[in-house]
Subunit: 459 residues, 2 copies
Amino acid sequence: MNAVETWLRTHRAAILEDLETFVRIPSVSTDPAYKGDVVRAAQFVAQKLTEAGLADAKVRPTEGHPVVTASWRGAPGKPTVLIYGHFDVQPPDPLEAWNTKPFEPEIRDGRLYGRGASDDKGPMLIPIKVAQAFLACNGALPVNLVFLFEGEEEVSSAHLEAFVAANQDYLAADFVLSADGAQWRADLPSVITGSRGICALEITVRGAGKDLHSGRHGGSVANPIQALAAILASLHDESGRVAVPGFYDAVVELPTSELNDIANLPWSEADYLNSIGASAGVGEAGYTLLQRNWVRPTLEFNGVSGGYAGPGKKTVIPSYAQAKLTCRLVPDQAPDVIARQIAGFVESRSIPGVAVDVKIETGGASPYAVPSDHLGLALAESVLAEVTEVSPIRVRMGATIPIGGIFKQVLGLDTIFFSFATSDEDYHAPNEFFRLSSLSNGLKAWAIYLARLGAASAG
Amino acid sequence: MNAVETWLRTHRAAILEDLETFVRIPSVSTDPAYKGDVVRAAQFVAQKLTEAGLADAKVRPTEGHPVVTASWRGAPGKPTVLIYGHFDVQPPDPLEAWNTKPFEPEIRDGRLYGRGASDDKGPMLIPIKVAQAFLACNGALPVNLVFLFEGEEEVSSAHLEAFVAANQDYLAADFVLSADGAQWRADLPSVITGSRGICALEITVRGAGKDLHSGRHGGSVANPIQALAAILASLHDESGRVAVPGFYDAVVELPTSELNDIANLPWSEADYLNSIGASAGVGEAGYTLLQRNWVRPTLEFNGVSGGYAGPGKKTVIPSYAQAKLTCRLVPDQAPDVIARQIAGFVESRSIPGVAVDVKIETGGASPYAVPSDHLGLALAESVLAEVTEVSPIRVRMGATIPIGGIFKQVLGLDTIFFSFATSDEDYHAPNEFFRLSSLSNGLKAWAIYLARLGAASAG
């Protein structure tokens, strides 16, 4: 251990340099214009794995952006850990809001600024470098490792499930250790024990065959905006619950003790609302804001459009109006089931003069929760406590990490989140950064984690 | 008369060419980007009046877009007619729905296609050319004429009232003859005996101070689209009536006989719905579609926007959402009173976590009705019967022509509508057109009207 830690300290400047080179590659997966850059990022990752001593590292194609795999299986009888991360990044816009250019990393105040530094290039580089340290110092790793890095996390891991299903033997492991899945706060170590799933729909309400003059026709034909408003207003009840029949049927209600754990966390609703500029919390009655964020499902409208939205007025009755919505799902809600329930409920509305059409978007993802007694989870907690000298808390994630559901459903594996990003690092916003202290802590923690996992299974 | 009619026939190709030149000017009054083009249209109109022989034709500024005036007062003892029209046009969007470009006029199948061809450039060019014909042939007009053309009809004649009030002497007349105010149908001549008024509002619902990630925050903060939908859904009741308290208080209920006249017109609800591609009529219970169009007030949504409207999904809770609405008003509803009632009703809603702001747009307009025994109306009916060989019917107008209210209130004048546009000419939609047969009929009818008015007053 000491040799490995020493190696990591000695090479820290070079590791940081590698991270900067990695951040310079604009691997934006949502925008086809960056397709070649996502491939370049994959090649960079494969090269770093090879340098680490993982001989079979390679870039592997999917129907979308490529993935990168590597493995080391030289510890028979020891556990096998599937390490996950992603090398694609969010789009950098709005560009004008960045203090320095998103793909020209810069160190300021102990932070590395740049798109992808925190999500997920910094965190995913850590296990590669830790493996390199073990192999350089000991010629061996304490456990068997399989690496799987994808280039489509920011587009809902669109082709990961197919790749995993087609490579089950190669990816076989005891559990997944994810370098993605940011910690909750910078000042309090945490482990994620679950993330919400997602499904997305688009509702289109069509009235007359063309836009109509609101004077000549107003009052006698259906107004699609009016019909859409009635539909949207019907999707929640007075208590803030989703009013779609069956929506809550599959929800596994948490035991009171777990709800209380969330309610008792050191977290201020007032500070939270202040931080986002909101005047009041709202939502499902009977739950705190944090409970609603973490363990309750939602139906949120993401966009609405129809008719004239420019300056001044235009006296038109539009021929159609549209709304986009997404639900966040909790165990055991299935994205396709929920999407069909909503579509059925909306389409069953009979509103004279309009046709209602609901499109279910692709890219749904299942919710996921780690079994609370998972040994990999306990190990993550003890290592975090040791490295940070603070007892970590267990948190849920309101957002969606599709891999939890994918690894569970396809490989039967649980996923332990062990990322050293923190959620304040603006990773879906301008001026994304990664704390250099998190890089140091992460290198140390991953080294301890793997060593201890190997030692435990030897006992 | 024969000389004048001959002149108009001989010059028909040149008149049509002038109209095409006129349509090429994108005088969109709602969009500040076209401000210079509205001025160019005014200059074009002044030039045509000058060419017609009206020596004092000029472009005159207002606080908004300019107006154009001209006069001929060489017939002492004869009536003076104030001729009205407008040279501004509706915005052309959605551009992709046009078969040919909106400001590149094209003749197909006896129609001139182009934005503004029907509303109101074609119809308003007619009295200018008729005046030119009289002056060219006779050196005089049969009655005194004052021309007033505005550039703000499509923005509710925002500054016309102030201009009229400031120029009462110049505009003094016996009545107004309007080249705007389309006929009801292409196959049945009609005269308009009233038009609905209008008021416009914009509702803005604001939630958090910035767009939020719908995973990390969904379920615990107010969604402005959801709040807006609830507000919009509350503005009508189940029977299709406007649910704003006081909305119907000032409505003068029509006598049953007039309602029956409307119900007995040769008009098919089924054909109407078919013509606009609507599957059913809707609206206020207890009235036919045509009664709702003509003599009942409305509240219609013209636009709604908020959050993401692009392709696919974006998991955002928008910081605000917005809706635009207009009401059509009937005698004696006052636009400012109704707008304040709606604003008060909406702002009185208390929705946690959002701020609701209602902006009353300028440019409200009063409803107007012509006295049923007006001599100018009877003359319009007889001339129409003569030119078209069909007895015209009396119709109301669902749309708004603010000038009725303005001329009545400021100058004490009634307005007779004598336009040769027809309401099927898509003038607030893509592919606006003006029938070339209407141009011919209009030139002939205006010539007869002015001649007969002059002759009648000589008797």
